[in-house]
Every structure is written in C-alpha cells, then in structure tokens.
Symmetry: C2
Subunit: 142 residues, 2 copies
C-alpha cells in the first residue's frame, strides 16, 4: 500500500473529461514527458523530447497540449525572468529555486503552515487562488 502517489498519471483522461475535453495520444505523450523528467522544460524542449516517440507531432500541438494541461490543473506554468515559459508537473505545494548561474530550477517543498502565513499577508478582500514563490540565487555546489 503506497501512502501517497499524488501525481501518478492516473487522472489525465479523467481530468480532461471533467473539463469536457478529449483524451488524445498527443496529450498523453506530452503529459508523460513532463512526468518523466521534472526539470521544468520549455515547450520547445518538450517538443524535442516527444518527437522520438511521436515524430508526427507538431510544435503547435505541443503548445496546445501544454495549455490544455494547465487548464486542467495537471500542470503548472512557470515564468521567471524573460524567456520561454516552463512547465511543471509537480502538484505538491512547492516553491521554485532558480539557480542564477546554471539556470536550473529546483522544487522546494512548501509546508502548509508557511503557505498559510504567506497567505496571511493579504489584506481582506484579496482572494488568492494560487501563490507562487520563487527564489533566485545559488544552489548547493556539491
């Protein structure tokens, strides 16, 4: 019995259906590309990763699929700095650490109490659906 398997692919078709959308091979392959390597790839990087498996897919479709996945709340779209959007299939509450030297991005788990305290800074009347926290700096040089 696995206590937690929160981002197993389990619910792609289900989530799509829930939004009145169809499941397609393209959406599956794009979603699995994000699950397989959690390094926050750009649309272009996803494109090159899925092409071996599905050479007929087009870049436009990759963009479309990513947008669809974001709308279904299966994927987070991440933007720091100029440059292309990046995509993240980690649905646990987490912050991002962006290494300024290497450009790499790491997920940092975010305890509920910290998230709660951050939300607490909002004056009444502000209703936040999501909170994004990003660090910029240097990651361990190990």
């Amino acid at each position: 019995m696995r206590p937690e398997t929160p981002e197993t692919p389990a619910n792609l078709a289900e989530r799509l259906a829930h939004s009145g959308l169809r499941n397609t091979p393209q959406r599956e392959v794009v979603y699995h590309a994000l699950l397989d390597r959690r390094d926050h790839p750009t649309a272009d990087e996803v494109y090159t990763r899925v092409r071996p498996e599905m050479p007929s897919i087009s870049l436009a479709t990759v963009y479309n699929c990513l947008e669809t996945l974001v709308q279904c709340d299966l994927v987070r779209q991440v933007n720091f700095e100029r440059g292309p959007s990046r995509y993240c299939a980690n649905l646990h509450p987490h912050a991002h650490f962006h290494d300024e030297k290497t450009g790499a991005t790491y997920d940092i788990p975010l305890p509920p109490e910290v998230l709660a305290q951050v939300r607490g800074v909002l004056p009444s009347g502000y209703d936040a659906k999501t909170v994004e926290i990003t660090f910029h700096g240097q990651s361990p040089t190990a």
Copy 2:
C-alpha cells in the same frame, strides 16, 4: 521631518556612479516614469509615457535604461504569466497580487518575519539572493 522617504529619486545618479555608469537624461526620465505611476508598466508602456517629455527617445533605449536600472537595484523586473516583462520601482519588501480578471498588479507589503519564514524553507546549501512572491486571484471588487 519625514520618517520615511525610501524611494525618493535621491539616489539615481549616485547608484549609477557606484556601478561606474553615467547618469543621462534618458535614464532619469525612464526612472521617473516608474516612480510616478507604480502600476508595473511594460517597456512599451514606459516608452509611450516618456515620449511626450522626450520625443527623441527610442524604444531600444528604454529597454537599455530599464536593464541598467535593474542592475543598479533601483528597479525590480517582474514576470508572471506569458507576456512582456513589467517593471516596479517599489524597493520595500513586497509581494505582488495579480488580478486575473483585470490584469492589474498590486503591491502587498511583506513583513520581515514572513519573509524570514519563507526563506526558512530552503534546505541548507541554497543561498537565495532574492525571493519573489506572487498571488493570482481576484482583488477587492470595491
């Protein structure tokens, strides 16, 4: 005696000099545009705002000036969502609230203890120079 005037223009020339850079009319006018209206304009919006005052300025120069100001730590560059970068002359620790309906962005003051707790989530070895916090949702409908 004014207790706090933390982002009066006071230090533009000084900050530039500190980085070995020159002060120029273009940099002044761009910086003042950001101070005057704190609504997180894009480079293009800054361009249209400063043109009445300095019709000869070019968009490339606006980009250059903004980049310079960011390097001098007088201005923060802000990116959430796809789309053009936005610029912010508020140097107090603050988060951003992005209203998903109107697209407007509001500054939310960030108490030091909250900032400290957020930094606390970083595993040892991670050295964060800056932290960015962005809320997405709906702002007061007043």
